[in-house]
Chain length 170, copies 2
Amino acid sequence: MGTPLSRDPIAEARRNWEDRGWSDVAAPMAAITAIMRTQQILLARIESALKPFGLTFARYELLALLSFARKGALPMNKASALLQVHPTSVTNAVDRLERAGLVARSPHPTDGRTTLVGLTAEGRTVAQRSTAALNSQVFSETGFPPEDVDALIRILGDFRRGSGDFEDSP
Amino acid sequence: MGTPLSRDPIAEARRNWEDRGWSDVAAPMAAITAIMRTQQILLARIESALKPFGLTFARYELLALLSFARKGALPMNKASALLQVHPTSVTNAVDRLERAGLVARSPHPTDGRTTLVGLTAEGRTVAQRSTAALNSQVFSETGFPPEDVDALIRILGDFRRGSGDFEDSP
DNA sequence: TCCAAACGCTTGGATGTCCTAGTATATTCA
DNA sequence: TGAATATACTAGGACATCCAAGCGTTTGGA
């Protein structure tokens, strides 16, 4: 999106906050803004690695989820819950993946309201290859030192649990 | 988006990765996925706090940036660089904010290519009030302990610098 | 001096996310 | 058993992001 800035814009924002007397919330503001920006950077890398497969991250996530499902298929609402996105987002992703021949919808055997989504043979292949691409191009060199990776997992795990993403583990 | 899951879906994904023999990238994968999810949670909180002002986070960021600019105005491309978003995203945000009467475009005095964006009186007021809302409703209770806030700022700062967001500070 | 290359902004298109409704199927309970 | 409530999915709309193109304005080298 351009050349590096001469100064960190987030550190700049934090200074502005402090100058206005909001020192008590300046650090959290900076942390949250940094998370936003980091997500943006990582998403761009991921989408770039997925591009050759005609996938976006949203569609990849669904594909990956299905590839780990016992029967390679899940109810739409289950996928929505596990991916933690709005049901309509799943509908959207399934529409496109289905058009691409990577997944297929099928009626639930006993519940007429429910639709199952399953991988096609091609979908399974694409899931494997795209995962390999992500592993080698993105996850293997994140730019985070190992100890920071551990810290992030712990810190963000606490945060997500506190936000009601999942129950405390036993 | 639903009730808490009984297990952490990201920890689940990590286990799946390890089971498939991708242990070397399982942790980074989990960290990145956690960042994605955390961003989603935080964004939802922010948008919720901004809703009463008719603002989205993207528009708020522009408003806040302008409120800190010396003359309350900046060239579009400068705003794009500082917010680290695509120029078209700024065009989009300015269009809507201008329609809402919060900012105004004006021609650059010497460079005919450049357009300046500045706050209107009302824009300045809304910027102040919405910032107060964010400070009190979001930043003051993030759910991150202070020491985690510091860790995040350090870790993500290193990452952003390494990603070319900004130069090493002197 | 003059034209090509660079720069700045906008338009149009593809995606993704969420929300609000609407339709169909299940469940619950009086 | 039949009506009221709850679920599951989809359609349509509002926004945001990025990319590719197109249109002026500036700049820089021949």
